[in-house]
């Protein structure tokens, strides 16, 4: 039985192959778009038949490698639907997050043991994996037509796309406890000085104004990273100049300001910020002992999972610039899901991703995991019951007051940034010193990776 389906599949493949050749010949000189549509022949013809013919007779199991810090509820919901429709089971292979996880993924790739599907950061981290060596080129897959252009550069190498988005985008911003804000009569700060004024009032009320969770050192980077949209408002070419060794953090006033802002927050932080973890920080924010937390908005999902009744009490504002009309929101693109080129089930993985990265897939995801920002799939809408914090972010998108984080625009991200930001945030080193140190760290990375112009 299985043998037979394989055979028929092969014939279909051969046929489409022939089709492709002829259409390519006849459509000589036409643009990419045409080839794109012709390539879709195989999956789309089967798709019109509905679920039955596309469904595998024997169950196929795909392994998806994902870090253990991302909540998988939403992805699981889509995976369940995929199993129902296509008889493709999804096995979640959990790996650690952070540096540990990066290392694990790199070694799994290097030794040829990657899972069929891999969930990984988009942007510079993704490109550092050398996706062109390990992942399937999906540039011409039908599902990529749904993907918004803003996402593509973060998963492309030399104009070829190697991954689809895993869900909605998110922002690096300030989460705040709305109830405490109301109790203290505070309003969302539009400038950095207003933020500091708020901090003073919160501190005077005996609460922690800014939650620091430096035991998880990655969280210390947020004030610097979430400032990038403001940097770009002041220095529009910074990302390119930075990549091309023409601009530095230390001698670009707007960029240096990001480190300075971090240094200015130390007096407002909780007592044990060096021993506090991310989870503890979330708890503080929710129960109101801590009022503001510079964080990625994926934290909203963690809050919703642990404290569902408190979710609408958490708001989001963009990290303010010094000048109110420069304040913009820094956006993180969704993680990438890519197909391992040498996997055993590439065809099934394509089917999986085709459904996953559709408006329908996103809608199913939203039933279990609400978006942490707008979707990057065309036609996928925010659900009505989206988090209050996400709704609060929408004006920044509607007005175009946003920019991607630097790590999505430049392949350079010095590996020591978490340690350097801990030092600035904890007042061990000055912003100026560590902006310089970070420039050196970036230089080291660029040289070690052999990036041109360094």
């Amino acid at each position: 039985m299985a043998q037979q389906t394989k055979k028929t599949k092969k014939t279909i493949l051969a046929l489409t192959g022939a089709l492709l050749v002829t259409s390519a010949l006849t459509a000589c000189g036409s643009k990419d778009d045409d080839t794109k549509t012709t390539t879709t022949t195989e999956p789309s013809t089967t798709a019109t038949d509905g679920t039955t013919s596309e469904r595998y007779a024997e169950p196929v199991t795909l392994k998806l490698m994902i870090d253990n810090q991302t909540s998988t509820e939403g992805i699981k919901a889509v995976a369940d639907e995929i199993e129902k429709r296509y008889n493709i089971k999804t096995e979640f292979d959990l790996r650690p997050g952070g540096d540990e996880g990066d290392n694990l993924v790199k070694t799994r790739l290097a030794t040829g043991e990657m899972d069929d599907l891999s969930f990984y950061n988009s942007g510079s981290l993704f490109k550092a994996l050398k996706p062109e060596k390990y992942f399937l080129d999906v540039t011409n897959e039908p599902f990529m037509q749904n993907v918004m252009d803003s996402f593509l550069p973060t998963v492309s190498v030399d104009g070829k796309v190697y991954a689809a988005p895993s869900g909605a985008s998110q922002a690096g911003a300030w989460l705040y406890n709305k109830k405490v804000y109301a109790d203290l009569g505070l309003s969302v700060p539009k400038t950095w000085d207003e933020l500091k004024a708020n901090n003073e009032k919160i501190k005077a009320a005996g609460k922690t104004a800014v939650i620091g969770s430096y035991k998880d050192s990655w969280t210390s980077q947020l004030i610097v990273l979430a400032d990038y949209a403001n940097v770009q408002a002041d220095a529009p070419t910074f990302a390119d100049d930075f990549t091309n060794n023409k601009a530095k953090f230390a001698d670009t006033p707007a960029a240096l300001r990001s480190f300075q802002k971090l240094g200015e927050m130390q007096p407002y932080m909780n007592k044990d910020y060096l021993a506090t973890t991310y989870d503890q920080a979330i708890k503080m924010l929710v129960d109101g002992t801590g009022v503001q937390y510079p964080m990625l908005t994926f934290a909203l999902s963690n809050i919703f999972a642990t404290y569902p009744d408190q979710i609408d009490n958490i708001g989001v504002f963009a990290q303010p610039a010094d000048n109110a009309d420069k304040t913009a929101l820094t956006v993180w693109m969704p993680a990438a899901i890519s197909i391992y080129k040498d996997g055993k089930n590439v065809e099934a993985a394509k089917k999986w991703l085709n459904f996953f990265a559709s408006p329908e897939g996103m809608a199913i995801q939203a039933t279990k995991a609400k978006p942490e920002g707008p979707y990057v799939i065309k036609g996928a809408q925010l659900p009505d019951d989206a988090y209050a914090g996400v709704k609060e972010m929408m004006p920044y998108f509607d007005n175009g007051n946003n920019a991607p984080a630097l790590e999505f625009l430049s392949p350079l991200k010095g590996p020591n940034l978490p340690q350097l930001t801990v030092e600035v945030g904890a007042g061990m080193k000055s912003a100026e010193d560590n902006a310089k140190a970070y420039d050196k760290d970036v230089e080291k990375q660029a040289k070690q990776l052999g990036i041109q112009g360094w």
């Binding site: 790996r95 952070g98 694990l104």
Partner: protein, 276 residues
């Protein structure tokens, strides 16, 4: 040395109190918190659990598709295989090095001793392992553990060989033994005391090793018990009860070893370390 009655009792009392505070309290702290609920354990104190939760242990053992059990099997295999290879190759080396005394044995001796001091070159070792297709394999990690354990084991075997008279070898030769048979039938059994020392010390070292598996045996599938524990710190960073339960579980083998071989370990240790 003789101590007088009261003075001795005071000293002994002080010693017991100190040993309790410095050594027993940390053990007790980990044990007691491994049996608490998540919220109780978050207090990180020494109070008695409001209800004893043996289920923590079950949860740790079954987490992530029985990851802990699988890594237990891996660690046990690595330890056993490494020890077998290590004992055989080191005993042979220690024997020849002690019996021969020429220019070559001096050079070899120096190379062996260098292994005690010089830290291994990590990335080049990965490269070598990768070139012979042993990177991330059980064979690879076993050979690395052997290579890095040889110096210590050879040192112990060599100094113990000095206590075995040459006459025994000569008598065996007269009996017409071949060199290999002579070694394994006559000499090797005589090495029993030092062999058991090497077995105990090296197996503890290899079982507890974190660095080498981290570099040479990475990957979720073949995690060792130490890597699993380390990964749990990020996964369970708010569930101290589970983290401590895992610590208790992985401490069982050394504990058993300690109970049975306490005297033997101490005796063997000292013999090797001082003479060497």
């Amino acid at each position: 040395m003789r101590l007088k009655g009261t003075k001795r009792i005071i000293l002994e009392t002080v010693a017991v109190i100190l040993s309790v505070v410095i050594f027993w309290v940390p053990f007790f702290f980990v044990i007691i918190n491994s049996l608490k609920s998540k919220t109780d354990a978050a207090l990180l104190d020494l109070s008695w659990p409001s209800s004893i939760q043996w289920s923590n242990y079950k949860e740790v053992l079954t987490a992530q598709d029985h990851m802990v059990i699988r890594s237990f099997i891996n660690s046990t295999l690595i330890t056993l295989l490494s020890i077998v290879v290590l004992i055989i190759v080191s005993a042979m080396t220690g024997y020849v090095l002690q019996r021969r005394n020429d220019r070559w044995s001096g050079i070899i001796q120096f190379l062996v001793m260098a292994g005690l001091m010089i830290p291994p070159a990590v990335v080049p070792t990965i490269w070598v392992l990768d070139s012979i297709h042993l990177f991330k394999t059980m064979t690879g990690i076993v050979l690395v553990e052997v290579a890095l354990g040889i110096s210590f084991a050879v040192m112990l075997f060599r100094s113990f060989m000095a206590t075995i008279p040459r006459e025994i070898d000569e008598a065996a030769v007269v009996d017409g033994c071949g060199s290999l048979r002579m070694f394994f039938q006559i000499i090797f059994p005589l090495l029993m005391p030092v062999t058991s020392t090497v077995v105990v010390l090296s197996s503890v070292g290899i079982y507890n090793d974190f660095v080498n598996p981290l570099y040479f045996f990475p990957g979720a599938k073949n995690a060792t018990i130490q890597l699993t524990l380390y990964n749990f710190t990020s996964m369970y960073n708010t569930s101290w009860n589970l983290l401590f339960a895992d610590i208790m579980l992985i401490s069982i083998p050394p504990l058993i070893l300690f109970i049975f071989f306490n005297k033997r370990i101490v005796a063997g240790m000292t013999a090797g370390a001082v003479k060497g």
